[in-house]
């Protein structure tokens, strides 16, 4: 088997990266020990008291932990779906634009909001959604009463998902654009020979070619199920929308305000990673079992 002769080359290629990962990632993972400790600064990892799973059980004893988990998973799931669809649709549409300069400009413009900070965007958003903001002027023009959107538990999750898309879809579309650019033009030529319309080309050539990327990104983002975006929510929420907008990370942050709790924060982080990892493994298994497709 000639492949065997290549193994050592493959190992060699992987070696530098793996070595660096071990030094800077695997060894420091010992820090996870903190999750099982009542970690006290000054005492350090070796001096702090071991408390087993107390930090973990505490996570579920928090009075409204169910609400917090639900908010987190709900917001991040909505974001995940939106982030799969919007950039994809946008990329496909942009790809249909024939004027190259338009294509270039549009793509550049939509990519820029990624660089804005949530501090700035939060003030823009609260301005737009204020009682005198443009959104409410529209609402009034349509004959409805103005709404305090940012105080409304009905609207808050939608605002979070929507504004996140607003900021990130252009940047996220880059991956799809790259995938589109990588599609073999021969496939289109062949389709055209067969008389396929542009819609048909989209369905039979473009989408199937993008599928692996879509599946990959979906799987990776499901690993993020318990990250609903701290920075954004922290900048946009207020006590009135705690019941729909308080997520794990904001809660942990506020716990830390009272008393720095490295042990608890690490335990939460570990739990989130674990859940994310399990989700990824599950997706992998399902795709392999039912579609005979290896995501990774």
């Amino acid at each position: 088997m000639r492949f065997r002769a290549y193994y050592k080359h493959y190992h060699l290629m992987l070696l530098p990266g793996i070595a660096l990962m071990i030094v800077f990632h695997v060894v420091p993972m010992l820090g996870i020990a903190i999750a099982f400790q009542d970690f006290k600064i000054g005492r350090g990892v070796w001096g702090s008291q071991w408390i087993g799973f107390e930090n973990f059980t505490y996570m579920f004893q928090i009075h409204d932990s169910a609400v917090i988990f639900y908010n987190t998973a709900f917001i991040s799931l909505m974001k995940m779906i939106a982030h799969l669809i919007v950039p994809l649709v946008f990329a496909i549409l942009l790809n249909e634009v024939r004027i190259r300069s338009v294509k270039r400009w549009v793509q550049t413009i939509v990519y820029v909001p990624h660089f804005l900070s949530w501090v700035i965007l939060a003030s823009v958003i609260s301005d737009m959604l204020s009682l005198n903001g443009i959104v409410n002027q529209l609402v009034k023009a349509l004959g409805f009463d103005p709404v305090m959107f940012l105080a409304s538990n009905r609207w808050f999750p939608a605002i979070i998902v929507g504004s996140d898309i607003w900021k990130e879809f252009g940047f996220a579309a880059i991956i799809y654009l790259a995938a589109l650019a990588g599609i073999n033009p021969n496939l289109y030529e062949a389709a055209e020979m067969d008389g396929a319309s542009r819609i048909k080309q989209l369905i039979y050539v473009t989408l199937p070619s993008l599928m692996p990327t879509v599946v990959l990104l979906a799987t990776l983002s499901i690993g993020n199920i318990l990250n609903a975006g701290f920075d954004q929510i922290f900048n946009l929420y207020n006590p009135l929308v705690y019941s729909s907008g308080d997520i794990i990370d904001t809660y942990v942050y506020r716990v830390g305000l009272v008393q720095a709790q490295y042990g608890f924060a690490t335990a939460v982080g570990l739990m989130k990673s674990l859940v994310g990892f399990i989700m990824i493994v599950l997706s992998y298994r399902i795709a392999y079992k039912y579609a005979n497709y290896r995501i990774f």
Binding site: G31, K103, F115, V119, I120, N184, P185, R198
Partner: protein, 297 residues
Amino acid sequence: MSVLVRNKTFGSRLSEGVLLAVMLLISAVSLAPVWHTVSLSFSDNAAAAGGFVKFWPRGFNLESYRKIMVEPHFLHSFLVSVERVLLGGAINFALTVLMAYPLSRSGKEFPLRSAYMWFLLFTMLFSGGVIPLYITVKSLGMFNTLWALVLPGAVPVFNVVLLMNFFRNLPKELSEAGYMDGAGPWFMMLKVFLPLSLPSLATVTLFSVVGHWNSFFDGMIFMRSVENYPLQTYIQQLVVQLNIADLDSTQAELLEKISDKTLNAAKIVVSMVPILAIYPFLQKYFIHGIMLGSVKE
């Protein structure tokens, strides 16, 4: 180019027009907050704090830019950032390619690939936290050096997975043809796969450049003094995030920076411009596609 050779008879001018209109609308929606930020950065702080700046700058001035750029540390920070992007980006690039290629081989060609793959996915999700990283970097004597900014994130796992995915979706015939001709893995990677993957290479490069350019946290914890901060860290600490509870009032200097919306906006513009400047060079690869045709044999 694929788009140009495609059938023009499908779709009326109308649909073409609708498409353009939609794109224009999307652009406007994306541009608005950016433009607002730029306007803020050029405005008088009193007008900004009063909420009078909407679309056009009010009380046009360059004060915020002066605050950021006239300081002696600015240029040096800029250079640190450039160095970091160049060195870090190069390391990221090399390692991404080196790791993505073997991982893109099938289980048959490289049975251990899955083990490596899951290792990477694992490290992507789990981390020991910042305290052990701090200790590691310190004990390696890398404090206050560029290495502290570059090595801990040397392997951008997401990029590796992404590139692996792109490699894997290149036509199977490529590898087969290569093997027939007796090409070894190094040759295949460098001479066959790389040239065919320009869009995805441009993408991962963009991600790591943006990542290096934007990160400020590591600069803050690993650098000894403001002189060695990369640009983002430097700018970050200029806009003091003040918690009034933390303040003693007698220092006017700091208080003036409270709610300095214009400075905050200028900081974003200053850090955004260099990225936008290099953008077209990468953009052309992933927006216009490549001539795969040349390899069909």
